[in-house]
Symmetry: C2
Subunit: 263 residues, 2 copies
DNA sequence: TCAAGTTTGTGTTGACAGGACAAGAACCTC
DNA sequence: GAGGTTCTTGTCCTGTCAACACAAACTTGA
């Protein structure tokens, strides 16, 4: 061990190795019907000029979540409180930062429609990027942040299947189609409007009707009922994205080899 | 910030706050048809004498997983490699350790049938405890380890629903009932043998038949086919534990008010 | 005023999955 | 053999869901 102050249970904090602890935040929002994440441009080496997740040191007497919120605000100028903040995982490969050992605790957050991606506050530049662009590796990212983002995207996609978190992307009052467009943006897929409507309106306490309806003057069509989020956190039977592991191709309506007999 | 070496992006590792990073491991195994976890008795203050998760410092040039494995082996004397090791989460409430700021990265692991809970190696005592006992708060635990264990138990329970991890609790070759008893132990519930059998044998590449059968001399009954784990990591349609959110009580067989008409 | 278009919401239908339960299959002991 | 135990398959029935049709409610334009 080479550390003679070490107690028999290997746990004496007064002689701890030099490891820095930081937090990083993957912030999701939906703009223009696309899932976007908030990045800042690094102002110093290493990886100067590359885009990175907002983040920084955890202070000595600061909780991890508090540090994540503080860095999100400080580095991006975002003033709105996230509608959701959740730990994603901790990344501590010894050489992930070339300067020294840095262990980072990653969080992911949902921000309701961020009107304008405000320029960063701390002399840094902040901007929104669509997830499909990031997934296409169209952006050079600092450190292992590409990997962290990849895992965060997978997390938010799967969480929408079995939780009611999608409503957190919406304003406090919204319609079923607005909610559907959240799912379509996050999953990057098209969803049948009728089945989706039935699913979310019958899921217990997912949505609460406010009694109101939209003014259709804007876009034509039947006015939609307005809902606010219910108390339920989980969806009893998940909404499945992409029936990809479709057991059988399940060809609907096999070509009628014989004229349909009247029944 | 009060830290003039801080760069504009708030990220200069040469001036990091004094925070120690440790790992803790929640190790699950099944003994005597019960889900058990491995704990060590603390040999020094604080919480001296209390039971705790095996864990300790992350060394400067050591990965987090490597540190978890090392501490598991060092503190418990376990020689077998875990069949699964996965990050659970990171716990960093500022006052969770009274001596200084300690951020711990928790892992959970699966160990196939540990024959004997070997006494600890590092002058510490190691032992297995059934999860139901720990859940009943029958044990005083150090720090916030009770909370960590609670979250680990929930994690392993839910992972068994949609992954094939249950097989990792079994020896390399096993029968369907052995696998069922894993589910029953982890979920602390009874499962219908027939439906379970159909479910796991038809789930694509969950199990692979070795061709062999058990020798029934031991316990009587029809010999069981022997399987080894397949390549699949996920179960296409999850096995649900406790149909608790049962939509309707679904009274089977409503009392026949009228004699059953032949159809 | 009416047709056409658009969006919202509901009905219908057929396939499928899964729980309750029964029963067959393959072995043991007595 | 009889009876017991365990493994494995079959049956029935119900709930869920995707596909798709269609009704409802509104706008716009002829």
């Amino acid at each position: 061990m080479g550390c003679d102050t070490k107690a028999p249970d290997g746990y004496d904090p007064r002689a701890y190795p030099p490891v820095a602890v930081t937090v990083d935040v993957v912030t999701f929002t939906i703009v223009d019907n696309q899932l976007q994440i908030l990045l800042v441009r690094r102002g110093q080496r290493p990886d100067k000029g590359l885009w990175a997740l907002p983040g920084g040191f955890v202070r000595e007497d600061e909780g991890l979540e508090a540090a994540a919120l503080r860095e999100l605000h400080e580095e991006t100028g975002v003033v709105a409180e996230p509608r959701h903040l959740e730990q994603l995982g901790t990344y501590g490969t010894p050489d992930r930062d070339p300067r020294m050992r840095v262990v980072t605790v990653a969080y992911w957050a949902i921000l309701a429609n961020l009107p304008e991606p405000k320029g960063g506050g701390d002399a840094a530049e902040a901007s929104l990027f669509s997830v499909v662009m990031v997934e296409a590796d169209a952006l050079k990212l600092a450190f292992d942040h590409g990997n962290i983002i990849k895992e965060a995207v997978e997390r938010v996609r799967s969480k929408l299947e079995y939780t009611t978190l999608a409503a957190q992307f919406c304003p406090p009052e919204f319609t079923v189609s607005q909610l559907r467009r959240v799912y379509e943006a996050v999953w990057n897929a098209r969803i049948d409007p009728g089945n989706f409507h039935r699913k979310v309106t019958t899921s217990p306490d997912f949505l609460r009707s406010t009694g109101g309806s939209t003014d259709p003057r804007a876009r034509g069509g039947r006015p939609a009922k307005i809902y606010s989020p219910g108390e339920a956190e989980y969806i009893s039977s998940p909404i499945m994205r992409s029936p990809s592991p479709r057991p059988t191709p399940r060809r609907r309506r096999p070509p009628p080899e014989q004229p349909k007999p009247p029944r």
